[in-house]
């Protein structure tokens, strides 16, 4: 089972907090990979909020290709951040791990954010395509104020490898996943969290209806719905599709992945809309077992379960800092000083949403909306 550790706070904190939480939740062998997505960045990045950051890994050859390509695309490099790698036994070091801050091409500077987002995503996808056959480039995210780090190995060792304990890298929202691979091959692109145009999520569990869901997403005519090296990537894309593409409020994510029964829908005020949504998005219904933790561009963080099999998940904290974890001990590690009696264990109808800046936490019940 994978371990998930998300923390959201109104002050900057180090990803080490997430890694240590992962470590407390560790059970048995667990070295299929670590993924970290940081949003609302501090340190040097705090000054560069408006500029898109390309996160990824490349070989020496890939670095050249990447530079040439970005140059041609009209992106001007502003800043490079690279972790100071400390070789650790068992982890194969790749040539470059990077987060490169760019300035938009001149023609895009004044374009609306939606158009910028499309451009950034297309650039990321092209890089991915160029680098995938020979593994010379991996591009995980390309978006303002977001960094993604991924590598195969044990999370704590990887933290040491990346020097996260020494580096001054901080953020207000960090999602971390320690992967225990079950179904699909160990591969960097199969590593959670998955990110697309400001939406990010990581998942625990299996996805029974992966094939029809993937087919549904891939046939939406949206270029970003590709990849799927992990059956969990669809959860991120469903989130993106529901909230960004269809413009539904976040709470409807639950209605899409675990629609209510007819009799339950009847009790809801928005029943008419809900019935149509249930029919039109029928292929996106999941069976679980899953817990999904994610964030949206506005900085809201959420946790949601499937409606039948359930995977563990808990949310707790204090005003200004909340953690969303796959296990209670992870929460104890991240925010020990909290009122434990207020910890939330979401059940089949619940979506837990932590407001931006960890302002407050709300449980949204699907039956009552």
């Amino acid at each position: 089972m994978c371990r998930l550790a998300a923390i959201t706070s109104n002050i900057y904190f180090s990803p080490m907090e997430n890694i240590l939480a992962l470590e407390t939740m560790k059970e048995g062998h667990d070295g299929s990979g670590l993924g970290l997505t940081l949003k609302d960045l501090g340190g040097n990045f705090a000054e560069l909020k408006g500029y898109p950051i390309l996160s990824g890994i490349c070989s020496k050859k890939g670095a050249k290709t990447l530079d040439d390509f970005m140059d041609k695309a009209g992106f001007k490099l502003k800043e490079i951040w690279a972790p100071k790698i400390k070789p650790v036994k068992g982890i194969t070091q790749r040539d470059h791990y990077f987060a490169r801050v760019y300035d938009y091409p001149t023609s895009y500077k004044n374009k609306p954010m939606r158009e910028k987002e499309d451009l950034l995503m297309n650039i990321r996808l092209t890089l991915r395509k160029m680098g995938e056959p020979d593994e010379s480039i991996f591009a995980f995210s390309f978006y303002p104020d977001v960094i993604t780090l991924k590598e195969v190995g044990d999370p704590l060792q990887l933290a040491e490898f990346f020097g996260l304990d020494r580096e001054n890298i901080k953020a207000k929202i960090i999602l971390a996943q320690g992967r225990q691979n079950t179904n699909y091959a160990i591969y960097l692109y199969a590593c959670h969290p998955f990110f697309i145009q400001g939406y990010c999520s990581m998942t625990n569990g299996e996805n029974t209806a992966f094939v029809p869901i993937r087919e549904f997403l891939m046939s939406r005519g949206f270029p970003g719905y590709i990849g799927y090296n992990s059956d969990s990537e669809v959860f991120t894309h469903i989130l993106h599709y529901t909230v960004r593409q269809l413009g539904f409020p976040l709470t409807y994510y639950k209605d899409v992945i675990t629609p209510l029964k007819e009799s339950e829908i009847e009790q809801r005020e928005d029943r008419e809309a809900l019935k149509l949504i249930k029919q039109s998005l029928r292929p996106l219904c999941i069976d679980g077992p899953n817990v999904v933790i994610g964030f949206t561009p506005d900085g809201s963080c959420f946790m949601v379960h499937d409606a039948k099999k359930l995977r563990p998940g808990v949310v707790g904290g204090v005003k200004g800092k909340f953690a969303l974890m796959s296990e209670e001990c992870g929460l104890d590690s991240a925010i020990p000083k909290r009122d434990k009696s207020k910890d939330i264990f979401p059940m089949k109808y619940d979506t837990v949403i932590v407001k931006p800046h960890a302002e407050e936490v709300k449980v949204w019940n699907q039956l009552q909306n």
Partner: protein, 553 residues
């Protein structure tokens, strides 16, 4: 040379030529005559023979050869009266004295064209081999990493949607106070959609079926809906609907078919003002799996008073429906106009969809429908579908197997992103070997939203004797020995409509349980696993490639 009087009549067939040979046991037979009376084709007759007997009289054995007149039951070798193997004689014999036996060596097809007429029959394709549907296995079982569901504990819903479903990005919704509401100002047409059980009873007409058979089906369906809560629907077939049903609230469980003969439609249209419920849907029949390209035919002897009045025709005339809808010329016309006018008839409140026979050209039809926002579904009837009457050559040789036809249509929809918008209904050979739920589930995982059954229903609910060894299959003659496909009261009084209804209920309840037994271990429960093709495998590489599923052996 000995004179060979029989051989000189060169046209006499031997029993070896016939598909079934009647085994009659002289020593058990009491000559009651029931078998000969009941045989629907007069394949057996009572006959008198002179028999050579050796007997002895007196205290010392003194064998004497003599002749005796005996009464026997004899099978005739007239091809027009061939034994169909129906076994009705066996059913009525009180002494186990008679039984037909299949004759593998038969040359029946060489002779069954007397008078220059091709062989006509009912039933389905005479191919007893294992069909593709029965070769599909469910191989992705949830084990430990993904716990299987528990049919007793988890909520299960084996339901599907019939009707055109709006694409998610065209839903007329707007946000109000953080909630989504239907935008009443939008003039977007929201097509009617029914939630139904994914196995439906396919089109069989009043007329083709006897009154108790049709009644039994309709009663069973009503009971399933109203008492068992299983929303099973059935299709009328061509030829109208009994007037009482048209005006009853049970009409909502009925899909009314319109076919090229438009039989019964005058009566249906006139009944519209008196309808208290809308029908479940309207099916426009363009083709039938058992006889692609052929129209319907109800023979004169079946057109009795009731049928004539329902269909709006005189009694005792052959009722032939043309192979195509005569007033339509192009696919755009045929499909679009017909769908449009049918939709309009019910104020766009009823899903309208076409049914075609399985064919390589199904995708062309599909693509046309995909562009038509009023098309509610596409029903594809594969080559193993049944019929009440058709040429044997059509039944046996024409048409496309359903599995690959359905699959390529589904994948075509996937390529267009319309796999959830236009439901596919698959039919033709579902439950051919009795594996109703497994065949249905396999088709669903290949991409069907629902399946339709016909022949299976007759077999399972009314003990239809027909099979793929051409047993019985005389549905076209009006002499159905079970009383299923006849209008002769002497025959159909053999069938008890209550029993049929009871069996309909049992069949669907069992299928519901079995579908759960398939879906639960695969981890699926509230929505159907439509297109969940990674759950399927087949033991043939070429078939696996064609269906784009995995190969397992």
């Amino acid at each position: 040379m000995e004179p060979a009087s029989k051989l000189d009549h060169n046209h006499q067939l031997s029993l070896k030529e016939l598909p079934y040979i009647v085994r009659w046991k002289d020593h058990r037979c009491t000559r009651c005559g029931r078998c000969t009376a009941v045989c629907p084709v007069k394949a057996i007759e009572a006959s008198v023979k002179v028999k050579r007997v050796v007997y002895s009289e007196g205290p010392v054995p003194t064998p004497i050869a003599g002749r005796k007149i005996v009464h026997v039951v004899e099978q005739v070798t007239d091809i027009e009266r061939y034994c169909t193997g129906c076994g009705t004689c066996t059913l009525v014999c009180p002494n186990d004295a008679i039984e037909p036996e299949y004759n593998l060596q038969n040359k029946f097809m060489h002779y069954k064209n007397r008078g220059g007429e091709g062989y006509k029959r009912g039933g389905r394709r005479n191919d007893p081999s294992i069909s593709t549907l029965d070769r599909l296995k469910f191989t992705r079982i949830s084990m430990l990493t993904d716990p299987a569901l528990d049919a007793g504990r988890h909520e299960f819903r084996v339901r599907t949607l019939l009707g055109r479903i709006l694409p998610s990005d065209e839903l007329p919704l707007k946000k109000m106070n953080g909630k989504l509401v239907v935008d009443k100002e939008s003039d977007k047409f929201i097509p009617p959609v029914r939630e139904i059980f994914p196995i439906m009873i396919g089109s069989m007409s009043v007329g083709a079926l006897s009154p108790p058979m049709w009644e039994g089906l309709a009663m069973g369906v009503a009971y399933l809906n109203e008492v068992e809560g299983l929303p099973v629907v059935m299709c009328t077939g061509e030829g109208g609907v009994p007037p009482r049903l048209l005006k009853s609230r049970f009409l909502k469980y009925i899909i009314i078919q319109i076919a090229s003969g438009y039989f019964g439609w005058d009566e249906i249209i006139h009944a519209i003002p008196h309808m208290v419920e809308d029908p479940a849907a309207i099916e426009i029949k363009y083709g039938q799996g058992a006889k692609p390209g052929d129209g319907g035919l109800l023979m004169a002897q079946k057109v009795l008073k009731l049928i004539a009045s329902i269909r709006g025709v005189p009694q005792f005339v052959d009722l032939a429906s043309p192979p195509t809808h005569q007033t339509k010329y192009s696919i755009e016309e045929a499909v679009a106009k017909m769908i449009q006018s049918m939709s309009m008839t019910w104020g766009f409140r009823v899903p309208v969809y076409p049914k075609i026979s399985g064919t390589k050209t199904a995708r062309a039809v599909l693509n046309n429908l995909a562009r038509n926002p009023y098309a509610a579904a596409l029903s594809i009837d594969g080559e193993d579908g049944g019929t009440g009457a058709a040429y044997n050559v059509s039944i046996d040789k024409m048409g496309h197997p359903i599995a690959s036809n359905l699959r390529e249509c589904y994948l075509d929809l996937v390529r267009q992103g319309k796999q959830n918008e236009l439901p596919l209904i698959a039919a033709g050979g579902v439950g051919k070997k009795g594996n109703l739920a497994a065949n249905a589930a396999a088709l669903i995982m290949l991409g069907a939203s629902a399946v339709s059954i016909g022949k299976y229903t007759l077999q399972a609910t009314a003990n239809c004797l027909g099979d793929e060894y051409n047993r019985c299959n005389i549905c076209n003659t009006g002499k159905c020995p079970r009383g299923i496909t006849t209008q002769d009261p002497k025959l159909y009084r053999r069938l008890d409509s209550d029993k049929v209804a009871e069996r309909v209920v049992e069949v669907f309840k069992a299928a519901n349980v079995e579908l759960k037994k398939i879906f639960a271990p695969m981890g699926r429960s509230t929505e159907l696993p439509i297109g969940m093709s990674d759950g399927l495998s087949i033991d043939d590489k070429a078939m696996a490639d064609r269906l784009e599923i995995s190969y397992a052996c």
